[in-house]
Each structure stands twice: as C-alpha cells, then as structure tokens.
C-alpha cells in the first residue's frame, strides 16, 4: 500500500474514532443540558418580558445567544470530523488512480489530513474564548481541505483523459 493511501486510510480511521468519541462524550455529558439551557433561556426571555422584567429578559436572551453559539459549533465539530474522516477513508481506497506522481499524491494526502484535523479544532477553539485563533485555524484548515479535494478532482479528471 502506498504512503499516500496509508496516510488517508489510517488517518481517516483515527480521525473517525476521535470524532465519534468526541460526539459520544458531548451527547452523554453535555448535549441534553445544553439543549435544556438553550430552550429554557429563550422561554425565560419571553416570560420575563411578559412580566415587564426587562433586564432579566435581556440576560436570558444573551444566555440563549451564547448557548446557541456553543451548541452549533460543538455539533459542527463532531459532524465535520467524522464526515472528513469518511471522505479520507473512501478516497484512500482509490487514491492510486489520482494521476499525479507518488510524491504529489503524498503531499495531497498530508494536506487533507492536516486540514481535516485543524479545521474542526479551530471551530472548538472558537467556543473556548479563543475566537481569533480559532477562526484563523478554521479558515486555514478548510482552505487546505479545499485545495486537497480540488487537486484530487484534477487528478481523477487527468486520469480519465489519459
């Protein structure tokens, strides 16, 4: 098996396991509490407004915003990690058909692995009060994945032409 295929298949398997464990931990210990908090905060914002307790209503609305911000990103991390891992495994099966040199294929596989790790990691950091660093990593990671998938598409199309 070529180095590029090993990087994609083994990297994909490890990343899938990490994504699933992260999701399992989140579902068991965090998600239900978060959903309760989110629903409760929005409902409280309206209930306090009905009682003309405006400050408490605003606090509840802010709590809703912050909880939802975290929730959306945590779920995205889980699904993107597993999705990217699945893509790496599937591409790993046919990566020898990408019409580039072995070195070129290895570079593409490394870029895909690095991007697939860094992109969701950046999203996690956005929820850990490190938004600028997190955003920078998420942009860099997603850029790497896009470049790698683009190069793979070119490799497949080139292979068709030859």
């Amino acid at each position: 098996m070529s180095q590029a295929r090993k990087v994609l298949i083994i990297g994909g398997l490890v990343l899938a396991a990490v994504g699933m464990l992260y999701g399992l931990h989140y579902a068991v210990f965090v998600e239900h509490q978060t959903l309760d908090r989110m629903g409760g905060a929005l409902s409280n914002a309206f209930a306090h407004a009905a009682e003309h307790r405006w400050d408490e209503s605003q606090h509840a609305l802010t709590a809703y915003r912050e909880t939802k911000y975290d929730y959306v990103r945590q779920v995205d991390v889980h699904s993107h990690w597993i999705g990217l891992a699945m893509l790496m495994i599937v591409l790993g099966v046919v990566f020898d058909e990408v019409a580039f040199s072995e070195r070129g294929r290895f570079a593409i596989a490394l870029a895909m692995l690095a991007g697939s790790i860094v992109f969701p990691l950046g999203v996690i950091l956005q929820t850990a009060r490190m938004a600028p660093l997190g955003s920078a990593l998420a942009i860099a990671g997603s850029g790497l994945v896009i470049v790698a998938v683009g190069a793979t598409a070119v490799g497949f199309v080139k292979g068709n032409a030859t």
Binding site: G39, L42, S43, A45, F46, A47, A49, A50, E51, H52, S57, L61, Y64, R65, K68, Y69, G83, M86, L87, I89, V90, L91, V93, V94, E97, A138, I139, S142, G143, V145, I146, V149, G150, T152, A153, F156, V157, G159, N160
Partner: protein, 353 residues
Amino acid sequence: MLVFGGIALIAAGMLFGDIFAVFVLHQNGGQSGEALLAAAHAVAAQDVPAVNAAFVRVGNLLEDRGTKVDAHVHMIDAGYLALLLALVQPYVALSAPRKKFLAKLFLAGGLLLPVGIFLIHYVGLAYSPFPVIGWASILADSAGALLIVVLLAEGWGFWNYVRSKHSSLVEPEPPKDRTWERRALLSGGTVLMLLGFVYGAWYAGVNLYEHENREMLILKDLLDQPAGAGGLTSSVNAYGRLQAEKAVQIAAHSHIIEFGLLAILLAFVQPLVFLSARWKRIWVGVMLAGSVILPVFVLLELKLGLLAGGIADIGGLMVIVALVGMLVGVVRQTGSLDAEVGRTPRKALGSAQ
C-alpha cells in the same frame, strides 16, 4: 447482501426525505411561526402561562421536525456504512456464515435505528418504565448498539487479517475496472464534494455570523414591541424567513457533499451492477444530474418559491430512480451468481461421467 442492503437503505432514506420535504417541512415551519407569534402576543398580554404553553408547542414542533430529519439522515448514513463494509469484506478474516450473519445484523440495525428515531415523537413516554426515555428511544439506542457491535466484530476480522501478514485475501476483491461509469462517478463525486466544501466555506465566512446576529435582533424586536401587534407579525415573518434562509443554505451544503460521497461509493460497486453498459451510463448520468439539480434548486427556493422546491424534489427523485436502477443490476448479478453455483455441480457431474 451489504451492497444490496446499503443501496436499498440509501434509496429508502432519500424517498423518506423527499416525502418529508413535500408533506411535512413547510407545514411544520408555518406552525412554528404561529407558535412564536402566539408567544409574542402572550408577552403583549402579560400572560406568562400562555408564553410557556406557546414554547411547549414550539418544542413539540421542533421534536417532530428533528426526529424526521434524523430518521432520514441515519437511514442514509447506515446505507453508506453498509457500502463501506461491503468494500472491506475481502480483508475481514471471518468465516462466510459469520460474515453473512453480521451483514444481516447490520442491515437489521440500519433499518431499526431510523424506525425507532421516527417513532420517538409519536410514542413519547407511553408505557415506559423510565422517566425520560421512551420505548422508541430504547429501540433506536438498541439498534445503534447493534451497529456498533457489528462494526467491532468487523474490526476484529480486519485485525485477524492484518495479523496473518496479509497472506491472502479472504474473498476476491471486486474487479477494478476503468470503465466510463467508474471514472465518471469518481470524478463527478469528487467535484460535487469540492463544490460543497467551497460553498460551506463561503457560508461560514459570509452568512453564519450575520444569521446569528440577525436572529438576536429579531428576537429583541419581538420582546421590545409587545404593544404593537402589527410589528409582531412582521418580526415573526422575518424570523421565519431567516430560518428558511439558514435551512436551505445548510441543506444545499450537506446534500451536495453527501451526493458526492455516494457517487464515489457507487463507483466501487459498478462491477457488481449487472446491466448493459448503456443502461449503466444512463443511471450514472441520471444520478449525477439529480445530485446537481437538488442542491442548486434548494438554494433557489427562496427566490423562486415552490417551483424551485418542486424541481429540487424531482432532482431527489432522479437520484432515487438511479439508485433503484443500479439495485436491479445488483439483484441480477446475485441471480447470475446463484445460477452459476447451480450449474457447477451438474458440469462436474457431467465431466465425471
């Protein structure tokens, strides 16, 4: 069995998604808007119990919608996993009867998991011995556990193969052909995924934060103007429009990527599709065309309304029809293998005589 079951699960999951989109999605969105408007009116009337009742209704509608989306997604993903498992079978060192048993278990789990999720909203906590988990959740969780057990057993078989120094494949690999269908599905699938990633990056950069800010502004408007009944309706409408914008953009992103992955997986099983080259090409063309039409017209739904929604549904239907066409080819292939097995003893008998 895994190839047939995987394609069948994906086709069934997509059909369910199409039915859900046509008959449930829009109606559910409208009812959620009505419930939010009722909550805003209750704020204006300073009626706290009515606010709580409205949010109970919102929660109920969200559960109804969420469980149907989850049933759709889980059935399709179980199908993808079945196809992936089919690909790795040559490297799973277990006996043939055990592999067959595991395949049956996996397909049973892949079917029962979405059925359980679908029933959660309807069964609720009826006759449940637990305070928060109903029978439908128990069914879904058990089916999920079954899938995990099968995956672990397959992993064990793969480990056995690796430990045996890869001496020989446990069963023959499907032939790696260089046919037009395979190449079109591989290239088309990768390009679809690329488009989905680029669109996702654009969405995250341009729309994600803007949508989050707009949602807060609309909710603030709703809370700040309890006396103005006309303003409430326009705020609720704005909230509905925002939810629709988010939904179509996320749906376009996720569907085009899922279709890309499906196309790549289907490229691997083409040698098992026992149809003429012409029909194989037709189904590949229909599949790829539907994979572009659905996400593009889902996006256009906000501008063109129901017309675009209808065309998107037709795109989904094209993918389903192509899958069923390929499924027929897989059935014909297994039939031809059975016929081959049936003929072999007679031939052997003939040569002995």
